[in-house]
Amino acid sequence: MNRNRKRLSMVLVLAGITLLVLLSGRIPFWTYDERVLTTDIEQFFSPEHLVRLLPLAVIILAAAAAITGICWIRKRYREQDSMRARYEGMRSSGRAGKRQGRQKVSVFSVIRWSVMVVFSLLIIFGGIFFGFTIFGIDIPVLSCPTNRSQLMESSCYFLAHLPDLFAEYDAVSIALFFGSTILFALLLGRVLCGFLCPMGLVQDLVHLLRQKLKIEGFVMTEADYRKLVPVKWLLVLLMPGAVFAGGNFCDFCPALAVSPVISGLKVSLYFSGFMMILVLVGSFFKRRAWCNICPLGLMIGLFHRLSPFRIKKEPTACTECGACYEACPMGIKMIYTEREKTDVTDWNCIMCGECVKCCPEDHALALAFAGKKIYDASRKRVVSGYQDSEEQADFGRLSGAGAEGAGGDGAGAR
């Protein structure tokens, strides 16, 4: 009985999402009559362009209001429970300052964040700063708003508009489209998600904000992640499928409120605007919430077996402390429960390196490229924040004396 009810509610949720995707074009968030693209820098700083950023401001304000509301409701709810109420003040109040003992920033994190910021800027503003065409190739290559004629890599748009693709282009171009898309998915896999995606950057920034404010997040368990699986697959079907049923996935996709709007495209936002609010709120409480259901990410993930980027594990070095699982934004549990295989790359893995960063056992986890470890787990790094700065206790000199010792900072091996 209970099981049937669960199934029924899942079916209802899926039907609801389908309906929402199909009707998303009729739910306006912010509409314009015409599409205008900013093409030079002067125009970009003009007042009328800045007005175009208004929907973004609305989205951010709405998200901030929603987050405050959720925190408030959570507080009220917990006040019912005397044991929990006692720590409510600690649980969700903003506290200033860094926690002493936080592990030091690793080279890998710096690289990941820089790549993410640089790519997001290039994808969004590349066209404005560098012109839209270089050597006959339209740039920025990954940006759908400014680059529709170039088939290479602007896969996202055409995957959602397959009829356009088949109507407007010849067989060679279509082959080129699928070929290049698959090639990139093969080469990079979900490194695209962890390193290059502007949506990822936005979500990571919101997560960082929560960490700074010391506000408690939502903890998702394995069962919760399992509930997302049908939603993921439904969105994978709907992304190319919606257009055949009279919908337009772009009107649902929250990414429309990121690169196109920020790049200065005067574009109407339909349900995407509301979705973006949801994504901001979701990823504030749950890191990379959207990535967990992103259909494009899932499609790329399907090729993960062939990607040269791998997460390697030394099964006996692992103590099953679960720090990697706690840190993983995608909730991959197998990474700490696996005790036989040395390759623990999951199709959901976005290669963000959080698991390696948090792993306290030397060499137990590592991010490898083509068999070479580029980021290795190290106890030294995890406890680095606890080093007594005044007394200058030098961990490095000691452990460096051993063959590999506690392992140097993995990224240093590049």
Binding site: R99, G217, T221, C321, Y386, A393, L398, A401
Partner: protein
């Protein structure tokens, strides 16, 4: 304090009780002093080891509180699963009360059932007599319920002290962690009530930093130990770890830092026990706690070296760090719960195969040639796992010996004969 303070345990005692108390104390001091002497007699002792041995001497021979604990609110904890960080956050200092004392054991033996484990009997004995200051002065005792004996001792202790039993889950899945987080919130509340000071984000962060300092130094030591086999006598390392039970983490950490610095300065030079070729043994199984260190002492006195220890009062008790991935208060609590449950290779968990992997890794890391499986009589959970450990080590070609022992010295000769043969066997194989 030393002379008179120790006799104030009970009020209005009769002559018999007084005689009993003085006999208890004399016997207790004698045993502890003897084991400390044997520890020192191993030789090749780093100078920085002295503060650790002094702490043990002060607690067990002088029967007094170490200076660093004077005037502090003491919270007794019984297991690695009671997070020390929380105790520091409440402005108190945790002491580990798991005991290896023979004299207290003989007192507890009369009250606890015959098949109860000696650790629990010794704890009972200390609380019963009220003669040990570190037990007497605890404002609260936190007893994680890790086995039936611990569960019952929690009940028995409640007659004399305030007790908080921590419900340890039987598994390590998501739900179990959530449950243990709730348990830690309850623990935090009790700690606040007992100490009268508030646990806040700041105090918890500083508690974590305090323990983190100790873990930093321990990690530094272990990294060095892995790189230089035979760095120190295993019994000396056990004494270092046992001293951590009776010292605030920051005090222990600074002593540890001096030890690390000294070992580093010594480098490859002489004065290391491994400068001679010795069979490298590892001890695992039931806790080995001062002064019940007869097995490690015998191993090293008979020509072996204790290269690694996988026991909860040894390195394992402190080495797993709490990894904070969420900077909020709740995130820190989760990190503590996660650290207490997931990496803990205590056989209280129904599925404990991770201990097997840990032993395999340690055999590799420390180049272990033989394993001593220590079973305290009545410690069923560890005894249950012997079979699997033996099987796995057999596959690896590592000989194992199961030593069952109690908290008395009656079996020393027998242990000696068996260990001697075991060490000879390893020498012969090598």
């Amino acid at each position: 304090m030393m002379g008179t303070g120790r006799k104030t345990g009970k009020t209005g005692k009769s002559g018999i009780e007084e005689r009993f108390a003085s006999r208890f104390l004399a016997k207790q001091e004698k045993t502890s002093a003897k084991y400390l002497r044997r520890v020192e007699e191993l030789g090749e002792m780093p100078e920085a080891l002295a503060p650790f041995l002094d702490t043990l001497r002060r607690v067990y021979v002088d029967m007094a509180l170490p200076d660093a604990l004077r005037g502090k609110t003491l919270i007794g904890t019984y297991c690695v699963m009671a997070p020390q960080e929380l105790v520091y956050a409440a402005g108190a200092v945790p002491v580990k009360l798991c005991s290896g004392n023979y004299t207290a054991f003989s007192v507890g033996d009369g009250n606890a059932p015959r098949d109860a484990c000696p650790l629990v009997k010794a704890v009972e004995g200390f609380c019963e007599t009220g003669l040990m200051p570190i037990y007497r002065d605890c404002a609260l005792m936190a007893v994680p319920i890790t086995c039936d004996c611990k569960k019952k001792i929690a009940g028995m202790l409640a007659a004399r002290s305030r007790v908080f039993p921590l419900q340890v889950p039987a598994g390590r899945d998501d739900g179990d962690i959530t449950q243990y987080v709730e348990e830690l919130y309850r623990f935090a509340g009790i700690l606040e009530d007992v100490t009268g000071s508030e646990i806040s984000w700041e105090t918890l962060a500083s508690g974590m930093r305090q323990v983190g300092r100790a873990q930093y130094e321990l990690s530094r030591f272990l990294a060095w130990k892995k790189a230089r086999h035979g760095l120190m006598w295993g019994t000396h390392i056990l004494a270092v770890m046992h001293a951590a039970s009776y010292l605030p983490a920051d005090v222990w950490a600074s002593s540890m830092r001096r030890l690390n610095d000294e070992l580093e300065a010594k480098g490859e030079g002489s004065g290391r026990p491994a400068s001679r070729k010795r069979p490298r043994l590892m001890i695992t199984g039931s806790p080995v706690i001062f002064p019940n260190i007869k097995v490690p002492l015998l191993i090293e006195e008979l020509g072996g070296i204790l290269a690694a220890d996988e026991t909860c009062m040894g390195e394992r008790g402190m080495s797993d760090p709490a990894v904070v991935v969420d900077e909020s208060f709740d995130g820190m609590m989760r990190a503590l719960a996660n650290r207490a449950v997931r990496p803990c290779s205590c056989p209280t968990f129904a599925d404990n195969t991770e201990r097997i992997y840990r032993i395999r890794q340690m055999v590799r890391d420390y180049d272990v040639q033989g394993v001593v499986y220590h079973v305290l009589r009545g410690c069923l959970v560890y005894d249950f796992e012997y079979q699997l450990v033996e099987e796995v080590l057999g596959e690896m070609g590592i000989p194992v010996i199961r030593l069952e022992s109690d908290y008395n010295e009656e079996d020393v000769e027998q242990l000696k004969i068996r260990l001697e043969a075991f060490i000879e066997l390893i020498k012969f194989r090598a």
